[in-house]
Symmetry: D2
Subunit: 269 residues, 4 copies
């Protein structure tokens, strides 16, 4: 169990997997995720990369906060972790909320990025997304993992994933009952309240490192229309679409996700 | 205020608008709707039709039930209303849940149909849709209109509708607070529990009256993929797509909805 | 056989079908079409409309030109025909090239329009469309109906239409052999050369009459992306999508085409 | 200039680029292509692969045939080349026609495949595709590169590519004038006549090596609907969609193409 201590005395949990000779790949979680979400990816990613996972504040094994903070709070934590690991330039993958953090990091510390992969992530919180955030917070306030799953998860996975993986999902719903405690829900609410005004559309064009956008054509949280403006603004960026997947494309179509991430980083190594 | 009395002594509320010389058009509501939802359509529809609106049991001004029933319960109510109004053959529009009832009616009483229009409605409850039903019931159990709106409505309207009509939606959310009382929520839960096994895919091919399917390309509740099997099975059926609209297409794109309904019925009159 | 004589002494062929008490509906042909293309639509359209068909110069039974002209040449011909028929305001449907003429007519004579329906038509000739025009002219220069069909028609109808109607298409290809003579091809080339710079995007917003846009989701000649700018610019315009159809949607999905046209005009009558 | 001599005494041209320690990657051309089409890819692909390019009979620098042959003729040529290069198992990329050959090779010699990537390629010649083949043969019979380009290429590249790259395309059209001689056109016609009955849908499920399907969402020659049946039949296959690209996706979106190919092969190495 590895942690870094932040300047404000918080513990940020992280994991490092794979050979330190390999190019470093750091993944930033989506809002409901944690380092544990990547267990099934370690084998594939460590074939070619030194994989670095971390939990944001209020996520997984990292410290819980007690007052509200803006999403920008995570940026120095990433920098601290890179410094701790003596990584000069990182290949950074950000999913959804993690992708928003990744955009902020790219704008803040361009010199520390080798490549950037934004998966199912927007450059702004649209009115719809803001309302969805409110819905999720409403669901979280119930502080009941099973009901939270019932209310929030149908937005995440595509109808096709539900239709084909119902038993797995029902088992997962049961697991949420035990996994998610009051502290988790309170942390979730703070994370979900950290980015209501997130909008980097005006600045995103300043990103110059090789950038890949990973979209999914049944993602209703960050539909293609919300990712195309990023593609237009980041010169030379690439965009690949994972077919028949929703916002949880990394899990719905794990193989395609790994293919795209692996190819983009190695091509640019 | 007009009601018919059913054989089991329930009151079914209905409204008749427009000239009785005009072809009759009956609309069956979606699960969260009532006759009041159609106020803005009366002007356009009565130009050419005698418009008949009704509230299902547990909807609007109709009687509340106290025990669970299957969705089939509504079919004889429609027949009774047609008899009451001395209408031999009806042009029937069914939205979502109302479209499921319309399919059952078409299979039960083919002789009473002139044309059938199924808008944003499936021929089966997919696993995803069943889970969505559970989510909505969970939200309804809170018996709080504002929170219900927050949790359930983002599935109904498209992201584009949210992005362009946020103030209207927020006002509507406030209105839900007062409009929806405990009786409404209990009725909603019974309606939402009446069709878990709904599946007429095997029988739908028996429908022979002119049929129009109205879809919306951002409808995540009844996506095109769930309506195409109906199109394939009902010989000669037509299918039109309302662009950039969600499950609430009738309200998101009212004009297009009226155009399609008007054209299809008059063409077949 | 009815003709009007234009001021420059050309004969414009037209047909009038149906009851003169009905609202008048005029259809403007696509570039490869003629009044004969609408034979299968007369029955349905005359149920509610007085149907007026016409051949543009260089089309069908109208006079052939000998020198090149701009697409605007057709506008006064339409006016003359309306005057001849004592029609003050017309419901105008324009398909593809005919839709471009309809846009010019709407901008030129707004007072003569009741409603406007633009089917599978762009507001500008994109570079791609210009190259397609060149390809078609190249094919026309062969002056061989069968080869012209082979080279040009796969752009018109969707792959699905080919896959489901191959025999009809092959028979039609044979018919082209006899139907299309040198005069036809020369006329076609002039028509196809009349609009290389067509672009009314800047002006189209001035159209104020009720307008419906009919699109098809497999139309590669005028894809949705080329029709959405019209939708955005004409305030209050409606847009319906015919599913699984190509540029020849009026023929691939005749029933849906008639439904939409009928509904839109009658709703606005 | 390297050639292998086939058993029937033909010369098959091939090129080998990059380090022989790297995993071998062989690319099979589309019907209008040749080894020269890949000049711009050599730099990126040799970073990680030993790149093997070849011209089919009747393509590029390989021997011209004089009588018609079936598409299966190319399979032993690939085997001979692999033997010549002492390659036991190959990573095979097939584009369009080359993808059809790749499928035949995979069914014929499963033991010689490491991975298979099928880009913009169908498992059967649909009626539409057969007609398109006829159109291309008709265009080829003119034996004029400029007119051939005008008539055939608008099917290949997306409208967006035309709209954004018109000058490059016009220059290319001019180049075709000189590049394509009578021998080229006759070879093209034989290639285009070699696969009218190609249909491996019944057998494709036997492919067991890791397989990636690369599609493009504006590809009208091999639309997603023609590639999804392959995805369904080859167990564990992956599918990625290149957005806003046509049949020529490898050239329209070179970067995304290289990312996907690189990632899939290295992940499986």
């Amino acid at each position: 169990m590895s942690f870094i201590k932040t300047r404000d005395n918080r513990d940020i949990y992280y994991e490092v997997h794979g050979d330190c000779e390999n190019p470093p790949l750091m993944i930033l979680n989506g809002i409901m995720m944690s380092t544990a979400s990547w267990a099934g990816f370690i084998g594939d990613f460590t074939k070619h990369f030194r994989l670095i996972l971390m939990d944001f504040r209020d996520q997984g094994k990292s410290s819980r906060e007690s007052v509200q903070y803006p999403i920008e709070i995570h940026v120095p934590d990433i920098l601290s972790l890179l410094d701790e690991l003596s990584i000069d330039k990182i290949n950074l993958v950000g999913l959804s909320y993690g992708g928003q953090v990744a955009q902020l990091f790219a704008l803040d510390s361009p010199g520390r990025l080798k490549t950037l992969i934004l998966a199912n992530t927007p450059a702004r919180i649209s009115p719809f997304l803001a309302e969805l955030g409110e819905a999720w917070k409403e669901a979280a306030k119930l502080e009941d993992g099973e009901r939270f799953f019932s209310l929030a998860i149908p937005f995440i996975y595509s109808d096709l994933f539900y239709n084909n993986n119902l038993q797995w999902l029902k088992a997962r719903q049961k697991a949420f009952k035990n996994l998610l405690d009051a502290a988790w829900f309170q942390g979730f609410i703070r994370l979900a309240s950290s980015n209501p005004d997130f909008n980097v559309l005006d600045r995103i064009g300043k990103i110059t490192c090789p950038t890949l956008l990973l979209c999914a054509d049944r993602d209703i949280i960050t539909p293609l229309e919300e990712m195309e403006p990023i593609h237009e603004r980041i010169k030379g960026s690439e965009l690949l679409v994972i077919h028949n997947a929703g916002h949880g494309a990394f899990l719905e179509k794990t193989a395609e996700f790994i293919t795209a991430v692996t190819g983009f980083i190695l091509k640019n190594s």
